[in-house]
Symmetry: C2
Subunit: 461 residues, 2 copies
Amino acid sequence: MMEKKLFLTFSIILNLVFTVYILCNNSTTWSPRWTNRAAAEAEDAASVSCSGHGRAYVDGLGVLDGNKPPCECNNCYTGKDCSVHVSDCPVDANSGDPLFLEPFWMRHAEKSAVLVSGWHRMSYRYKGGSFVSEELEKVIRKLHKVVGNAVTDNRFILFGTGSTQLLAAAAHALSLSNSSSSSPARLLASVPFYALYKEQAEFFDSTRLKFEGDTSAWKKSKRNDNNTQVIEIVTSPNNPDGKMKRAVLEGPNVKTIHDYAYNWPYFSPITHQTDEDLSLFSLSKITGHAGSRFGWALVKDKNVYEKMKRYVTLSSMGVSRTTQLYGLQLLKVVVGDGGEEIFHFGYETLKKRWETLNKIFSTSTRFSLQTIKPEYCNYFKKVKDFTPSYAWVKCERLEDTNCYETFRAAKITGRDGKVFGSEPEERFVRLSLIRAQDDFDQLVGLLKKLVPEEAVGVDLI
Amino acid sequence: MMEKKLFLTFSIILNLVFTVYILCNNSTTWSPRWTNRAAAEAEDAASVSCSGHGRAYVDGLGVLDGNKPPCECNNCYTGKDCSVHVSDCPVDANSGDPLFLEPFWMRHAEKSAVLVSGWHRMSYRYKGGSFVSEELEKVIRKLHKVVGNAVTDNRFILFGTGSTQLLAAAAHALSLSNSSSSSPARLLASVPFYALYKEQAEFFDSTRLKFEGDTSAWKKSKRNDNNTQVIEIVTSPNNPDGKMKRAVLEGPNVKTIHDYAYNWPYFSPITHQTDEDLSLFSLSKITGHAGSRFGWALVKDKNVYEKMKRYVTLSSMGVSRTTQLYGLQLLKVVVGDGGEEIFHFGYETLKKRWETLNKIFSTSTRFSLQTIKPEYCNYFKKVKDFTPSYAWVKCERLEDTNCYETFRAAKITGRDGKVFGSEPEERFVRLSLIRAQDDFDQLVGLLKKLVPEEAVGVDLI
């Protein structure tokens, strides 16, 4: 009898507990509504297993037909779940795809996700008439402050569809201030330089701008008359070789564009707060989102800023608002802990890659890597090695007349040195070190065959 | 005793029911995980009440400091929740902000939302090496098929950061095929034309392209020598006047760009399936997402396509992958029901606006509106009125030498007719009819004052 009573009491209490649980659960947890579908779709895609050698995206092939997004496998992996390694597979070490940061974002899935509503900022302009998200501008200023790599006070910030667009905008804007109307402004850079500088100027073919080539050659030439308007692009750290650079040309006829795409603690010690007239940065090399096509310029002179703004307006009416929203969220994550986690993660990743690389090349007499002395990094607050995004490999042997082809023969596709400037650069090839871990591992595999094998070759001769 | 037994049994059964409920509830409803934060944030912003006269966006001012996003009020509304109407407020009827479609997207919040993961397509390129989402390309072909406004078979599709970028790319690409290297290709359009054509060509100032102005003037001029390379831009329906247009120039030296931004059932009957060499479309005027900066080109000739692609590559390395994902989702909603709902909604909205407008202007001798005869629409399968995006208002009185200023004095900011071409256009002003309902309502309010008032004025003279 007593037992039954106890049992009944227990049962009633349990019922009460269940009731409270259900009530609380329904009222305190967030109950998803119109965001359901999109969230579920994203979770579904993210949960597709690609064996760690690929990923599925919500906009993958076949989703329009209602299919689950398929795995898109890393190079040299195949199969439905990317579990099959392709043997004897050539390696892609060409483009500067910054996938080395992808694991960071996967680890911070919750913080970095963005839900875009179907009516997100449909207008051409933000409130107030600008093409620029004020919050994104704010987080960019904060980022530079946190890293200590650029002065943003008294600077206008302009957004572009990648720093690619801003490069063209900057060169064009500066060429418009050319007083001598008879002769176009000359665009120059120091060899080896990023090929886009030349390609843009030559393809867009403005009456006011002409690509002239190497700064040093110009300095020595007779045409360097202190009269011709000159625009020098300074890339620091430099693409391809990762070296810190300063302007070579000077004078009242010289204007300078500083391309600081790589000026982040991953790639080089932050030695000082840059304070230039016109500098360019890119989301691609700070968060790794090359595909989002977002860059920004810090511009001192209002006149130049206005001309660049006009360029961006006439070229694309500013940058996609969806992309600005995404950029805001990503940079919010970066600055959230003062860059602590992402910069450590990225730097350590590249440091390990450089250690592996240096080891492979250390015994070689046939190939050499660039070396840059460590410097004190104001961000990490200690002396740090340079860990550039690219290996700038020199073929030392005279018979290796085309370094790029030498590597191609060993199934490694880098970027041909001659793309970066003049003749002697044919002795160089650029290997990208910032790609996905799989790419790097495959590169190492092939380099381990090529480099020692050929070193032995030298010994035999 | 019996009662107690019954009670116990009941209690136990209830326990079981609760247990099953909780288990089922946890296993069958979708349980949100890493998408939680983003989804909640979006729902929060969407739930901010702005009295139907504004909206809050997730990236609104102050969100970085942890504030709830504020209401961004429509023109002439103010206050924390946009509930205060500003009396005597000037009206903005200038830009072609396609906010008339915003209510459609709010109504389809669930279908149209997109969740972007922090690692979404970080790479420069899609699998296969292109800058273009294959699914987005597919949905665009489907869209044209559904609407019947353009042949897409045997056409290359190129994406741009708005049709703005593609316009520049197209003009540049066609100018490169100019055989007579001594003289630049001439860019022409029929007055009245969209100002950007002129502004782009003049600002970018390529050695190979020169804006020449009106096609008819050119046709009559001596320089029309069948030798000079000519590029004609045909805008149909035309911006500003909404009329259907055909190419004016012909000959072996003539190339044509068809700007079909407004060639959708909202604005004009779909009279035929266009089948041109090079035509341009814009997300802005089909879904209303001007802010997303997305457009596409249909290109017949591979050579021209390759040159345009090179332009877009050198200018911005393609279009943001985030934006492509968003565009895919939006167009998926559009074609989901064959365009049924969005085109009906958009057309009916504009039809009502035109009815209101026609009524106001019907008695006026001072101002007149463009008139275009109804035509059979292949999409709606019936004869339909033209409902252009802009009213192209003519000031008929001689003393109204500047039509734009006449409207400005009545607190209506339109777009000055002279922006669209030559001198007589000063007698015109363009009023945008595709903006938010609030903008239109305010426009109507002020027009109701201006138009009849001045009609009386005429009677008195």
